[in-house]
């Protein structure tokens, strides 16, 4: 009897959870759905007072127009180049440093690792002004170097993620390779690194999300329009339109900018979630 009653109560709880979650899901999806709907409307329909209406007629041509009113392809190329280089840079440099911190013993190792971690706490804006002065002196302003080169020296959070992963690998692997006469670098490069595919995926996704969407960095360093990223292009497209904002085109362009991030999220959600969870649980 009491078992039965409990089952009924549990079913009721599950049902309540579903109802609340469905409401949350609708609210969470609404902004992106709205972005999509607006991107397919005609300009006159965007501020139609029956704004809850669906696009009618459906204007797929907005997308063609959006990528031609701004030099979309140029910005896409620039953004892809910068993002690709930052990913390569941090994958190499962060994993090398992490291997050193995780697997090799040397005096001062723990102190140096704590220093690496604590730099994550410094607000990004504090070193920004001196870095800008330094890049200006090096004549790096208006090039992609300030946005890319630092990644080739490792990113503390990524070093942390790789280190957590290296620590979980058994030592026997290295010992066996050492007996076979492999050098430390060979062990890192040929044996350990291929085993860290989940960490490589996580760091790739984090770096992609950070760089692809970055605004402040490109705004500070990229002056000539031909070198702009998608974020700068979108911001300037939005900023020029003081009175009659072409929201339908802005939403089409914005959605195209978000699309790669959305696709990567759907394909590699597992790694994204694991990375965030690792940062929180072990950090």
């Amino acid at each position: 009897m009491s078992g039965n009653r409990r089952r009924i109560r549990e079913t009721g709880d599950t049902l309540a959870a579903y109802v609340i979650l469905t409401l949350v899901a609708v609210v969470f999806l609404a902004p992106l759905a709205w972005m999509f709907a607006t991107s397919l409307k005609q300009e006159s329909q965007v501020f139609d007072m029956s704004a809850l209406s669906m696009p009618n007629p459906v204007e797929w041509g907005n997308y063609r127009e959006a990528i031609s009113v701004i030099p979309f392809m140029r910005y896409l190329f620039n953004t892809t180049l910068i993002t690709g280089l930052t990913i390569v840079g941090t994958l190499l440099a962060s994993s090398v440093a992490a291997y050193g911190f995780a697997r090799l013993r040397f005096p001062g190792r723990n102190v140096l690792f704590i220093i690496a971690i604590s730099t994550m706490m410094v607000p990004g804006i504090v070193p920004m002004i001196p870095r800008f002065a330094m890049y200006k002196y090096l004549k790096w302003v208006d090039t992609i170097k300030p946005l890319v080169v630092p990644f080739f020296f490792g990113v503390p959070f990524h070093i942390f993620l790789f280190r957590q992963f290296f620590l979980t690998l058994p030592r026997d692997l290295e010992d066996a390779a050492k007996i076979d006469g492999a050098s430390t670098f060979q062990i890192y490069w040929k044996i350990m690194l291929p085993l860290t595919k989940p960490a490589l995926a996580t760091v790739t996704i984090f770096t992609f999300m950070g760089t692809w969407n970055d605004f402040m960095g490109p705004w500070v360093y990229l002056k000539s329009q031909a070198k702009w990223t998608l974020s700068l292009g979108l911001a300037s497209f939005q900023g020029q339109q003081a009175f009659q904002t072409p929201w339908h085109l802005l939403m089409a362009a914005s959605l195209l900018v978000l699309l790669p991030a959305l696709i990567i999220f759907f394909v590699a959600q597992k790694y994204f979630i694991r990375g965030i969870a690792t940062g929180g649980i072990k950090g």
């Binding site: 949350v24 050193g100 607000p123 001196p130 800008f132 002065a133 914005s254 959605l255 994204f272 969870a277």
Partner: protein
């Protein structure tokens, strides 16, 4: 053996040397230089001029410093606790092993991967006072409420005197459905608007809480059940203490992030209306990179650094009272 260890140490330094060089060039060096720059007046075009502590004195005099600090604290004071509480509730709801739950999880995480300019532009449209989605939905609810009141009117007529009916209807009308707020165009509503927007992006803390919930051993819940704890009791006496280190982590990280809010306001409001969304980093950014007052900007950056450091230390001290670490 000793030689082997010496060799390992050498290789260790070699492996971390890229990071060490990067740390000196891109972190330590700039931080030291930021101290020096904060004591100068420098536009990065001419030479830097030493001005002593003048920039720091100016921090105390500049009314927009106080204003932007107030705005930033106001935002953080609402966005961070509300965000952490919301993430906790979502994580509990998502921590069921029923069918289809992974779809809900994906939907909750989704906004967390979308950030930056595109999202700021989107929310600017959503918050549009005249015909943004948010106010359209609010008006829809308003008209439903109005219709419900009118429906009540006929039911009340037969039972009460006309004066009483009018009083009831008027008070119900005044309770609900005024014109919805102007959000980003109203100084009183612009910060709450940004808080609402921040709640949409609670995916990351939700993931952390969910991972934490999944790591709590079943036996603890079973023990609590034997002690007679109900569903809420189990949450209060098992989940909450077990999650307290993660609540603390999310509060600290959320605060550090909230104090540096920038892109949203740069794109959506540029600090307006009437400086109501002039947040600290936006003001710093304008001083340094738009007005070329790099010395003043560096002094501002240090103030922010010490505020964040101080607040984080206070949170750590207070955490000893409520965070329970496993021993």
């Amino acid at each position: 053996m000793k030689r082997l260890r010496g060799r390992e140490a050498l290789e260790g330094y070699l492996f971390i040397s890229p990071w060490v060089i990067g740390f000196v060039v891109f972190a330590l060096g700039p931080l030291l230089a930021a101290v020096v720059i904060s004591f100068t007046s420098w536009d990065l075009i001419g030479p830097a001029k030493s001005v002593g502590v003048e920039n720091y004195r100016e921090l105390a005099r500049d009314p927009l410093i106080a204003k932007s600090l107030f705005n930033t604290f106001f935002y953080a004071a609402f966005a961070v606790p509300l965000g952490v509480a919301f993430a906790l509730v979502l994580a509990v709801l998502l921590n069921t092993k029923t069918r289809g739950i992974s779809i809900y999880r994906t939907i909750v995480y989704l906004p967390a991967v979308t950030s930056g300019v595109a999202i700021a532009i989107l929310w600017k449209l959503l918050f549009n006072a005249d015909s943004g989605l948010i106010n359209e939905v609010l008006r829809l609810f308003g008209s439903l409420y109005e219709a419900a009141i009118n429906g009540m009117a006929s039911a009340l007529d037969s039972r009460f005197t006309p004066a009483a009916v009018r009083f009831i209807l008027e008070s119900l009308r005044s309770l609900g459905a005024p014109e919805p707020p102007g959000w980003l165009s109203d100084p009183a509503w612009s910060k709450p608007a940004l808080v609402v927007m921040s709640l949409w992006g609670v995916g990351a803390p939700t993931i952390i809480f969910l991972a934490g919930l999944q790591g709590i051993p079943r036996e603890l819940y079973e023990a609590a059940q034997i002690d007679g704890a109900g569903k809420f009791g189990k949450f209060r006496h098992v989940s909450l203490p077990m999650l307290s280190p993660l609540i603390f982590f999310n509060l600290v990280m959320g605060f550090i992030g909230a104090m540096q809010i920038f892109v949203q306001v740069f794109i959506m409001t540029d600090g307006g209306p009437q400086d109501s969304t002039l947040f600290y980093v936006l003001y710093l950014f304008k001083q340094a990179f738009q007005y070329l007052k790099f010395g003043y900007g560096a002094a501002m950056a240090w103030l922010l650094f010490f505020i964040i450091l101080g607040a984080t230390l206070v949170q750590f001290v207070l955490s000893k009272r409520w965070v329970q670490y496993e021993r």
